[in-house]
Structures are given as structure tokens and as C-alpha cells.
Amino acid sequence: MARLRARDESAMTLFYDRYSAALYGVILRIVKAEDEAEDVLQEALVKIWHAFGNYDPGKGRLFTWVLNICRNLSIDKIRSRQHRVGSRTQGLDDSLTAQRQAAPVTFRPEHIGLQEITQKLIPEQRQIIDLLYFEGFTQSEVAEELNIPLGTVKTRARTAIKVLSKLVR
């Protein structure tokens, strides 16, 4: 990490070896296509390199920080793709639903914890976390998409995160 700060280029290789699996997994889960995931990973690493001076260890873990950079880039990517491909008025919801259903097919969890974690979350909680975390929905968009009250979305998101943080400990 210090070497990353010092802009030592071999640090990039170390960084890649340590974090690429976690970051690639998240990126792939969001953009869903392997070639695009590669682009985003590349872009993210360059961005992390240049923005490293802005990282403030007092505000949170390095992992959280880089994860958010990757998430934001990935979400931007799918947003711009939807913008390019479809008419915004009618196509948006359909294409999102289609992508969500397509996800389990292309997605092969390799990490040992996934099953454990998904068993702990009830499907409704998982769906909400996925929409918020992997699709970049706002809470009111989730409420609209699932046709449930905003309050329910908030409670479910909060309970789901509670469940997850028990697993951390």
C-alpha cells in the first residue's frame, strides 16, 4: 500500500494479485460480459493509480475504497450501454429485468462463502441488495421496480446488511 502511494509500479502487480479476484467478481457481476469486465478492470486500475492520493485511510478500508471505484465504473458502463442501445422510455425496465435473469447462467461462484451467505439471506433481502449494490438502483427505483413501499425497501436493506455483518464477525 505504501508502495502504491509511492507510485511504485511493481506495487500495481502486487495489488492486482491481491485484489483482482474480488474486484473482477464484482465487475463481472455488474456488467455481465467478460470482455467489458476486462475493460472496466483496466480502467479501474488506472483510476485507482491516479486517484490514490485522494484515498483517506481514516475514512475506511482500502478495500472499500477500491471496491466503490470499481462499482461506480461498472455501473456507469451499464448505464451508458443502456443509453446507447435502447430507447430510454420503454426499454429500460425490460432490459434490466432480462439482465437480472441472465445473471445466474453466466455467473459461476467460486468463492466458498457465497452459498453460506445466500442461505443466510432470504430471497427478498438478496434481491434488494443485488439491485442496490450490483445494479446501481436507488432505493426509490427499487421500490418502483418491485412494487413495494419505500419503507419496506429501507427496512429490508438494513436487515440484510445486519445479517451480513453478523457473518463478518
Binding site: L62, F63, E110, S165
Partner: protein, 301 residues
């Protein structure tokens, strides 16, 4: 302070961690987190939870991608690297040229530069050697301090990184421990002599169904091990029944993971049984079995 608890309960920290807040809202959260340790702790928990969820989706990229991405990234981040080399080259050339020019002072403008350079050198020679020594000592000390400070900071950051790593490993090993415990328990059941295995074979309504009941007549324990069961529509669930003296006794509902064959499930205790059978019931189960029976097997006597 009660307000803090309300604030934490409001769900804004989750929104912060999910990145759905505006920049202004984010700054407000940052400020509160800096002021209140309780908020800071809660926020760290939320972020760790999401981090765990993200890591659960980890997927090692293809090996070929590593070379491509790293090569590309390294190319992008060091466009400066070749520049100093060529700049240096240019400097060397310039110096060499200046020397050549100096060798023939009368004919070139290079000669004009020389006296200017010589003048400060003469002035410096005139200064007290003590002042020079002090200046050098000060510079050395400054340099040393800067170096030590940088090392100290680097050590602190390494420590944080290591702590993060350690926390991640601890989380993973906890999960593994738990799974190991479950597997050990299941293994001891499978190896125990007290348990009698009852094979359930599919009826004509579910010819592919296959499962095994492990029944301990002494402790009345019942475990179920599914090999394969047809998938059920939403709102339906498999239920196990023990047949004792011709009467069906509820032996419990199959969890989704059990029906999928992922897990050995402990069912309800059964006092005695001549056979076990499985039916499809509405989610939540029924008091009496709904025909037809999907799979069935008799306890060997």
C-alpha cells in the same frame, strides 16, 4: 445521545455505503462519522458487511487477462518513465556541447555564460566554513527527518493493510470452520452403526425421486439425505412422513437446500416406524399427507 441511535436506525449509513447519496449528503455523513465514534463504528460494520458480500462473488480472472490488463495499465500509468530517460539524454548532449564550446571560447556565445557561473562560486568560497557546515547539517537532518517520517507513515499503512487481510482471513476461516463442523456431524451420523439406512424410491408419480432416511431406533433421531427430487412449483414443499402401525406421522418439512440435495437435514424425532414416505404439500406442511406419495421405502427389520 438518543439522536445518534435514531440516525443509525434511519438507514442513511446503508445508503452511504451503497453509494446512493448525493455528494452533499455524503459530506454530511462524513462529518457526523468523524464527530461520533458510534456512527463511525456502525458505518465500518456496514461497509465490512457489503465488502463480505462483494467478496463472496469473487472470481479469479482468466490467467491471460492478467498479462493483458497489467501490461495495458502499466503502459498507461507510466507515460512519464521514458521521458526522463530522453530528457537526461538531452541534458548530457547539452553538457557535452557546452564543453566543446568552452574549449573554443573566443568564437562562440558559450563563453559569455562562463563568467556568470563563476561569480557565485567565488562568493560562496568567501562564506564562513561554519555557516556552510551548519547548512549542510541542517539539510542532512531535514532529509533524515523526511525519510523517517515517510517510513513511519508507510509502516502505519502496512499495518492497516495487514489488519484488513487478517480480518478477511478470519472471516473466511470462520465460514470454513462452520462448514467443517457440519460435515463432521454428518459424517458421524453416516458412519454410526445405530443408524439404519432406509432407501426411498420414487413412485410412478415421481420416478426420478431418490432419497435415504437415516433412522436411529434407540434415540428416535431421523436424518434425511436427498439424492434427487423433482423441482417443485412455488408454494409447494416436500414433507416426510413416518408410517407407524399403518398411521402416517409427520416427520417434518424439507428445507429447500435439503430438497436440492445440498445438505443432510435432521428431521423430527420419530418413536417408531415401519416405513417412510414423502409427499408434496403446500408450503408450511399439512397435518395429514396429501396423496399421491412421491417416494417411499420400508425399514428393514
Amino acid at each position: 445521545m438518543e439522536n445518534i441511535q435514531d440516525y443509525i436506525e434511519s438507514g442513511i449509513l446503508e445508503q452511504y455505503a451503497l453509494g446512493v447519496l448525493t455528494a452533499a449528503e455524503q459530506a454530511a455523513v462524513d462529518a457526523l462519522a468523524a464527530a461520533h465514534p458510534a456512527i463511525r463504528t456502525e458505518l465500518a460494520d456496514v461497509q465490512a458487511a457489503l465488502g463480505l458480500y462483494a467478496e463472496a462473488h469473487a472470481q479469479t480472472p482468466p490467467a491471460a487477462l492478467r498479462e493483458r490488463v497489467l501490461a495495458h495499465v502499466l503502459r498507461q500509468i507510466q507515460p512519464v518513465a521514458p521521458a526522463p530517460a530522453s530528457a537526461l539524454r538531452a541534458d548530457v548532449d547539452a553538457v557535452a556541447q557546452a564543453r566543446n564550446l568552452a574549449a573554443a571560447p573566443a568564437t562562440t556565445p558559450g563563453a559569455v555564460v562562463r563568467p556568470l557561473l563563476a561569480a557565485p562560486a567565488a562568493a560562496a568560497a568567501g562564506r564562513s566554513p561554519w555557516a556552510l557546515a551548519a547548512a549542510v547539517a541542517l539539510l542532512l537532518s531535514l532529509g533524515g527527518n523526511a525519510l523517517l517520517y515517510a517510513r513511519w507513515q508507510a509502516a502505519g499503512q502496512d499495518l492497516v493493510a495487514l489488519q484488513n487481510d487478517q480480518a478477511r482471513f478470519a472471516a473466511t476461516s470462520q465460514v470454513v470452520d462452520k462448514q467443517l463442523g457440519t460435515l463432521k456431524e454428518q459424517n458421524s451420523i453416516l458412519r454410526s452403526d445405530e443408524f439404519r439406512a432406509v432407501a426411498l424410491a420414487g413412485t410412478k408419480d415421481a420416478p426420478t425421486a431418490r432419497a435415504r432416511v437415516l433412522f436411529n431406533a434407540a434415540t428416535h433421531r431421523v436424518y434425511l439425505d436427498v439424492r434427487s427430487l423433482p423441482a417443485l412449483p412455488a408454494g409447494k414443499q416436500y414433507q416426510l412422513w413416518a408410517l407407524a402401525g399403518g398411521k402416517p406421522v409427520d416427520a417434518g418439512l424439507l428445507a429447500a437446500t435439503t430438497a436440492a440435495g445440498d445438505d443432510l437435514q435432521q428431521m423430527k424425532d420419530v418413536a417408531s416406524a415401519q416405513a417412510f414416505a414423502m409427499t408434496v404439500e403446500p408450503t408450511g406442511g399439512s397435518a395429514a399427507p396429501t396423496m399421491p406419495i412421491q417416494a417411499m421405502g420400508a425399514v428393514a427389520i
